[in-house]
Symmetry: C2
Subunit: 339 residues, 2 copies
């Protein structure tokens, strides 16, 4: 381990996006007089009659949720993408726009309003993984859909508008910015080396064993070298797979175990239901082989020092580059102790 990286301000390259993160290891002890987040450790009931995601309840558009037993998927009542929209292209001098159509879905992870993924068993999470596979497969067959973004916003501080355990799937006709960057960098590497960028990176991480949180037969949970968020982590399949479709049932269970282990460690870290946005980046559903793609799931949690003090990605971060104080190596040590 290069100790300069623990002592001096430096930047690290995200090999998947080509962008840099500024790391300031010496700054972790800066006092905090800013905003404190409201922390609610209140235990929620298993059923909430005012929740529009609980089984049997009526949603805003009048539809009634079925009496679901594990996972329940429906089309978002306030979708950001319309499927029946017009197709158009605007190229008016330097004003450039184009229509973007798509389908947005909501996926309830459990009928139990009080739970989160961190409270669920791997076998229960496996059912969520199966639902992701089913939805991905169906959306991939739609000729107007070329990319499927699976994600979860957990916690009020992450803009989650309902604490019922749920995630979302936004699918669309073109590649969003972040996916486009990863597509390009993986493709360039694959064309040059005829191997997977993330696969080769994973091999290097496993050899070094400095940033690994957990692993089982099929998956590795690690803090990437270029992590932005204080306790950012990534779940990577050991086998190179372009998307989640090729996973066997047993791999799906091991993926579920990786999610369970990571989210449980997060909850222990500051003794709170740990907020985050998580998302799966995978190959476009454009009908091509996409052999350069190696899918992975990332967790971006905002908390920095306690349940109430988060990292703000503002000012310098918005105009310059993301910036972090605690290093990836320090974060991984703290998380590893909680497994």
């Amino acid at each position: 381990m290069n100790t300069d990286l623990q002592d001096y301000s430096h930047k690290r390259l995200n090999i998947l996006t080509g962008e840099w993160v500024l790391v300031s290891p010496h700054r972790a002890k800066r006092p905090w007089q800013g905003q404190n987040e409201v922390v609610s450790n209140e235990k929620r009931p298993s059923y909430d009659e005012s929740c529009y995601l609980c089984a049997g309840n009526t949603r805003i558009n009048g539809e009634i949720n079925p009496n679901y037993q594990d996972v329940f998927v429906f089309t978002n009542d306030f979708a950001a993408l319309q499927s029946d929209s017009k197709t158009f292209l605007v190229e008016d001098g330097l004003m450039v726009a184009q229509s973007e159509t798509g389908i947005c879905k909501v996926i309830c992870f459990s009928p139990d309003h009080s739970k989160s993924l961190a409270d669920m068993k791997p076998a229960e999470i496996q059912k969520v993984v199966f639902a992701w596979q089913r939805e991905f497969k169906e959306l991939a067959q739609n000729p107007n859909i070329n990319y499927v973004q699976i994600f979860e916003n957990k916690g009020a501080v992450m803009g989650c508008s309902n604490p019922h355990p749920h995630g979302q799937i936004w699918s669309q006709s073109t590649l969003p910015n972040e996916v486009d960057k990863k597509n390009t960098h993986q493709l360039n590497y694959f064309n040059k080396n005829n191997s997977s960028l993330l696969g080769d990176y994973l091999t290097q991480e496993l050899e070094k064993n400095e940033r690994i949180i957990f692993q089982n037969n099929d998956f590795v949970v690690l803090v990437p070298f270029w992590a932005i968020w204080p306790f950012e982590a990534m779940i990577v399949p050991k086998k190179v797979q372009p998307d989640i479709l090729t996973m066997s049932d047993n791999e799906a269970l091991n993926f579920a175990e990786a999610i369970a282990v990571l989210t449980k460690a997060y909850d222990k870290l500051f003794n709170t239901s740990f907020p985050y946005s998580s998302g799966i980046h995978q190959a476009p559903t454009n009908g091509q082989a996409n052999n350069h793609w190696h899918w992975h799931m990332s967790f971006y949690p905002p908390l920095l020092r306690s349940a109430s003090v988060k990292k703000f990605m503002v000012g310098y971060e918005m105009f310059g580059s993301p910036q972090r104080d605690i290093t990836a190596e320090t974060a991984v040590k703290m998380l590893r102790e909680l497994i």
Copy 2:
């Protein structure tokens, strides 16, 4: 005006960064059950003895602030960038890092603890502009500094740790991500057209007059076509200038007026001291002419519908692209009425 852009989901291109924003005009009426921000409309005193930025007070490192009358600049006591750091390059397979040195400063806009830029007269803000020019000039002469990022985080919701009116300047040896993108896109356009990308865009905006909030002899305040944040705005000099150094005293006063007009309109919008991060993007200080650069100041305010409901850039936005509900054209109409 293309009405499709007000009716259907689409994406718009940011010509300066090459990235897209997803616009969902039909979604503005979605109900909000999520987090409400704490709004403090409490009037602060002009002097606060516990504030480490007020005149005459002692800072954490023991230094005593002078009895300053208008603007006061000092080196950040918890700088994210170190000036005396080692220089190193790490290229260990797919782990790539390099040292980043720099100088971070804090700039108090006024000794009056109760004020913000929105409460200050153009002649007072002009003194802030002069301080930005002085600091930029001095830092530009430092051979280890190749870029100077001037910015402000306003409001607790934007991670501002002290309500005393102040901004920051982080300067460093390499170009941060966002600046690098704008550098590339402006350079490509300049090489092809021998004119300023932002200058040509400004000409088009002035002709259309659809997204202009305010203008005076030297500056235009507008909502860019590709705005991400609900009430994002940009101040652009009419004359093509690579950086803030070439501004005359009178131009500085007109720039100050533009800042005053915009920040006052912001405060009126939701009847609250409007939070934002603002920043000036300008040419690198690498000793070159940088004729392709056209400096500008952007404001990224998080509020969406009221003083307590903000837009969260989470989930889809982190993994995909930024997304907005209200269009740039609707936002500009609301702001223009408040001038």
